[in-house]
Amino acid sequence: MLWIELFLVIVMLLGAIMAVSHKDIINSVIALSLVSLITSILFFIMQAPDVALTEASVGAGLSTAIFVMAINKIRNRDRNNEKNS
């Protein structure tokens, strides 16, 4: 069990570093979603099923969707601006 946790934590921290440092913002958001998902598993391991459920549905699911939608809007507008000019 210990090794699984260690592995998860290392992947999570790498994901966080990738989320912060990646050039493409969409990839950062996906990495953030990965971090949230692993956090949710850790919550489950730490006997907090309620929080794990919330983190999985809100943090990994909806929050990522909100990020992607906002980025999509911004990119669409950028593309339209380029087309117009």
């Binding site: 907090a48 099923p49 309620d50 459920l53 549905s57 909806l62 909100i66 809007k73 507008r77």
Partner: protein
């Protein structure tokens, strides 16, 4: 500049861990936690201790939390109030996505409702169920060609369910002079109809959170005004 910053960050990390490890490893007795564990099933009738804390012992926090989410949906709705166009995806969804989104939508809703109705027995509750409902709405959007949620109507429902939460708290005042008191009969533990007002509040919260998050999703996905 950036390198200095990251160096500072790493140094702080090391110092913090160095200092905090002994405190964490002491593994103190958690005082109020034990009280809640002891009293949850006896005094609230909910077998999920977290639910009994969220809705009964510290129910006022949850009222605030629901208000924060209400504020967010109000704010997002306010910021995008100029956008009135419907959602029109650039790439049309395929037939499979269209049909399956319609087929699965009621199942999603049912799953969300199941989670918030059983909040006092199993993990989960209003917030989790509500966010699942919101993802159902998102799914419906993704599988549709042209869609619009009735924004004003949702706002009405949101405020109504907010008032419902306060109303239940107020019923506690009428029944026993204590706000948010669990005045209803506790029922038999481990069954669906138990724990007094807890399932009622969780259903209200589930509906409210579902509406608010779906409204945020709908506002963010809506078409642009001036494009």
């Amino acid at each position: 500049m950036k390198k200095i910053l990251s160096l500072i960050v790493i140094l702080t990390l090391i110092v913090a861990i160095w200092h905090f490890l002994p405190a964490l490893s002491k593994n103190k007795a958690f005082k109020i936690g034990h009280f809640y564990i002891e009293h949850a099933i006896k005094d609230t009738g909910a077998s999920n201790v977290v639910t009994s804390i969220v809705l009964n012992f510290r129910g006022f926090d949850t009222l605030g939390e629901v208000t924060v989410l209400f504020l967010a949906s109000l704010g997002v709705g306010f910021l995008f109030s100029g956008n009135t166009k419907n959602y029109k995806p650039e790439i049309q969804p395929s037939l499979i996505l269209r049909v399956s989104s319609r087929l699965l939508f009621p199942l999603f809703i049912m799953f969300g409702a199941y989670i918030f109705i059983h909040g006092h027995l199993t993990p989960g509750g209003g917030f989790q169920g509500g966010s699942i409902i919101a993802s159902a709405v998102l799914f419906l959007y993704l599988g549709s060609k042209d869609k619009k949620l009735p924004g004003h109507f949702i706002e009405y429902l949101e405020s109504l369910s907010g008032l419902g939460f306060i109303g239940i708290g107020f019923a506690g005042i009428l029944a026993s002079n204590i706000f948010l008191n669990n005045f209803m009969p506790k029922g038999i533990v481990y069954t669906l109809f138990s724990a007094g007002i807890i399932p009622v509040i969780y259903i209200i919260i589930g509906i409210k959170v579902g509406l608010e998050l779906s409204k945020i999703v709908a506002d963010l996905i809506k078409g642009e005004e001036n494009v």
